[in-house]
Symmetry: C2
C-alpha cells in the first residue's frame, strides 16, 4: 500500500491542503470542528508527515531550541526576543539551552537535548554555529537546525543560515577613526572562538592597510566579549610608552570596559581618547558618553533565523507545498555618537619621555 | 478495581520506590534496562500518577515555563540562569514566555501556554507573581506554579513562593546615605506594578522618619525600572531649586541612568552627588564609579523558586513520598562602592538664589 500523502488527508477531511498544513503546524487560526476533522483523517489514514511533525498528532505545539554560549546578557536577550517573535507568529514554543561551547561532547549533548525534549529543530548561535564538525554531526543525526554566523557572504554549504558581515562594518568603524585623524588605533579582541572576532579584526586590518597605516602588534590585545576584558585590555594599551589615541572594542561591552579604564586613568573621552564598540546594544547608549558603534540588528537577525528554521520544518511537514526559504545576509551600519572625536594634537611637552 | 499505585509499579518492576520516581521524573541516573522495565510495568498496570506526570510515559522530560515582563536584560538573564540551574539538576527543560503584564486576558494566556505546551508548571516573576487574582485563577485551572515576590515575610497564602525583603535593604541604603551626612535624598521609583518598588519606597520612607528627616515630595520621582527613566528622573531632580545631594535609584539601571544624567550636568560623582542603586547586577560594577547597591542574589533566588516548584511536581507525582518544601525568604545586603561619599558642604556663595 502506498504511503498516504497530505492530499489524501485533505480529500478525506474535505478541506484544502492549506488547512491540513495549518492543523499540522498547530496554527491557532483553524476552527475547532475543522481541526478535529483533519486530525481524525490523519488518524484514520495513519498519515505520518515526518519525524518532526509526528508529535503534532498529539496536539502539542512545535517547540524549537535556542542554543547559546555568550557572556553578554544584552546580546542573549536580543537573540531570544527575535526567536520568540518568530515563535509567536507561528504558535511555536521556545526552549533555551545555554551550553559550554568547549565541551568535547557537545554534539551528543545537543542531539540528546533535541531528541529527549522532542524539539522540532535548533537555532545555533556562535560559536557553536561556526563549528562545521558540530553542524555536520547534528545534521547527520537528523536534527534540523539553522545557524547565525559571521561571514561576508553566503557559505552555500548546504546548511541554512543567516550571516552577518562583521568585516565590512569593522572596516567602516576603523575608517571613521582614521578620518578623524587617528593613526594609533588600539584593537581589543572578542572571543577567539567566534568568527565575528576574526572578521572584525580582518576589517580593522584591511582599513589600516588601505590607508597605509602600519599595523602595530602592541596595539592589538586578545580577550573575550566582556566588560572586564575591555577594562583590562584598555589599561594595557594606555600603559604603553606610546598609547593609542583611539580604541576599537570588538563589542559594546568591551568598549564600555575601555571607557571605564579611560575614566579611571583620568582621561576625558572623547577628547583624550576616542572609543568605539560594536553591536549597538542598549548598553552602548547607556554609557557616558554614548558609544560610537556598528548597528547590528540582533533581534531582526535572530527572528529571520528562526523563521528560516520554521519554514524548513513546515516544508518538511508537507512537501507538496515547498516554501521558498533563503539564507540571508545582514550588514551592520556605522553609528557615530559621542565617544569618538577628532584627534587632538598633543603639545610636545606632554609627550612621555622616549 | 482499585487504581494502581507507585508501589504496585515498584513491585512489578522489582525495583525500589525511589527508582520508579526517578524514572517518572526522568532523571538521567537510571540504567537503560531498569528504566525500560519500570516503563513496561507502568504500561502494563496502566498506572497514571497524575496529570503532570502523564506525559512522562512518553519519555518526554518535564518542562517548566518561566513567565516574565521586565525591561531589564541583566535581571532576566539572572532569573533564567537560576531556573536553568535547577532544571539541569533534575533533567527538566525550560520554556520561556515573556508576556504583557497589563493584558486583561493574562490568566487565559498563561493557562493556555501551560496546557498547550504541556508544561509541568510555571515560575511566575513580578509583577505577575504579585497579582493574587492571577495566581488564584491559574491555581483554579490546575496550573502548578511558584512565585518570586517582594515581601518582608512569608505571605502564608497557600501558594508557594520565595520572597525578597526589599524593604529592609532599602532602609539600609537610605541609612548609609544619611550616615554620610545627606539630608536631601532623591528617590527614583521603579515600576509601580512591582511590589519591589513599593517595598523599597517604604524602606526609604521609614529610614527618613527614623532619622527625623522630613520627607520632601519633590525629591520622589515616579518611573520604571529602566536606565532612561533614571536619566530623566535624575535630570528632573537636578533641576530643582534645591537639588538633592544623593539619589537612591530603585534598581541599578535607574542608578546608572542617574549617573549619566549627573555626568551630562557636569557633576562629579560621588563628590558633587552620591548615587545608589539596587540589585548588584553586573551592571552596577560596569559603571564608573561602580555603584553602591543592595546585593540581591537574583540567580540563587530564582534557583530556589524553581526547586520549590520541581519538588512540588515530584511530590504530586508520587504521594507516597512527600518531600518537604518550604517557602524561603532572601534579604539583600548593602554593598558600598565608589558612587557614594560623605556629603560635601557647599560654600555659601555657591548656593542657588532663594
Amino acid at each position: 500500500m502506498r504511503r498516504p500523502t497530505i492530499k489524501d488527508v485533505a480529500e478525506r477531511a474535505n478541506v484544502s491542503l492549506k488547512t491540513v498544513s495549518r492543523v499540522i503546524n498547530n496554527e491557532p487560526s483553524v476552527l475547532h470542528g475543522t481541526r478535529a476533522r483533519v486530525l481524525r483523517a490523519i488518524d484514520e489514514l495513519d498519515y505520518e508527515p515526518d519525524a518532526a511533525a509526528r508529535n503534532l498528532r498529539s496536539g502539542t505545539p512545535f517547540v524549537i531550541g535556542l542554543v547559546y554560549d555568550n557572556p553578554n546578557p544584552y546580546h542573549i536577550i536580543g537573540v531570544q526576543n527575535g526567536v520568540l517573535a518568530a515563535c509567536r507568529e507561528t504558535g511555536f514554543g521556545l526552549q533555551i539551552h545555554p551550553c559550554d561551547s568547549t565541551s568535547p561532547l557537545l554534539a551528543d549533548e545537543l542531539a540528546d537535548f533535541a531528541q529527549r525534549s522532542r524539539l522540532a529543530g535548533l537555532v545555533l548561535t556562535a560559536p557553536m554555529s561556526e563549528r562545521m564538525e558540530l553542524v555536520e554531526a547534528l545534521a547527520a543525526r537528523g536534527v534540523p537546525l539553522v545557524r547565525i554566523i559571521a561571514a561576508t557572504r553566503d557559505p552555500e554549504d548546504g546548511h541554512p543560515c543567516v550571516y552577518v558581515d562583521d568585516r565590512d562594518a569593522a572596516y567602516e568603524i576603523t575608517e571613521h577613526l582614521i578620518q578623524l585623524g587617528h593613526q594609533r588605533i588600539g584593537f581589543l579582541w572578542g572571543g577567539l572562538a567566534h568568527l565575528s572576532s576574526t572578521e572584525r579584526y580582518a576589517g580593522y586590518e584591511q582599513a589600516l592597510a588601505d590607508y597605509n597605516i602600519p599595523l602595530d602588534k602592541h596595539l592589538v590585545v586578545p580577550g573575550d566579549y566582556t566588560f572586564d576584558d575591555g577594562f583590562r585590555g584598555a589599561r594595557r594599551l594606555l600603559a604603553l610608552r606610546e598609547p593609542p589615541t583611539a580604541i576599537f572594542g570588538c563589542n559594546d561591552e568591551i568598549a564600555a570596559g575601555a571607557l571605564a579604564a579611560a575614566k579611571s586613568a583620568g582621561l576625558n573621552v572623547p577628547y583624550d581618547l576616542s572609543i568605539a564598540g560594536f553591536e549597538d546594544s542598549p548598553f552602548s547608549r547607556q554609557s557616558w558618553p554614548a558609544l560610537t558603534t556598528a548597528k547590528q540588528a540582533t533581534e531582526e537577525i535572530a527572528r529571520h533565523a528562526a523563521r528560516l528554521l520554521i519554514a524548513r520544518l513546515r516544508q518538511d511537514a508537507y512537501d507538496d507545498h515547498p516554501m521558498p526559504v533563503h539564507n540571508q545576509g545582514f550588514a551592520p551600519q556605522l553609528v557615530v555618537r559621542g565617544s569618538t572625536a577628532p584627534m587632538r594634537p598633543r603639545p610636545p611637552e606632554s609627550r612621555p619621555n622616549e
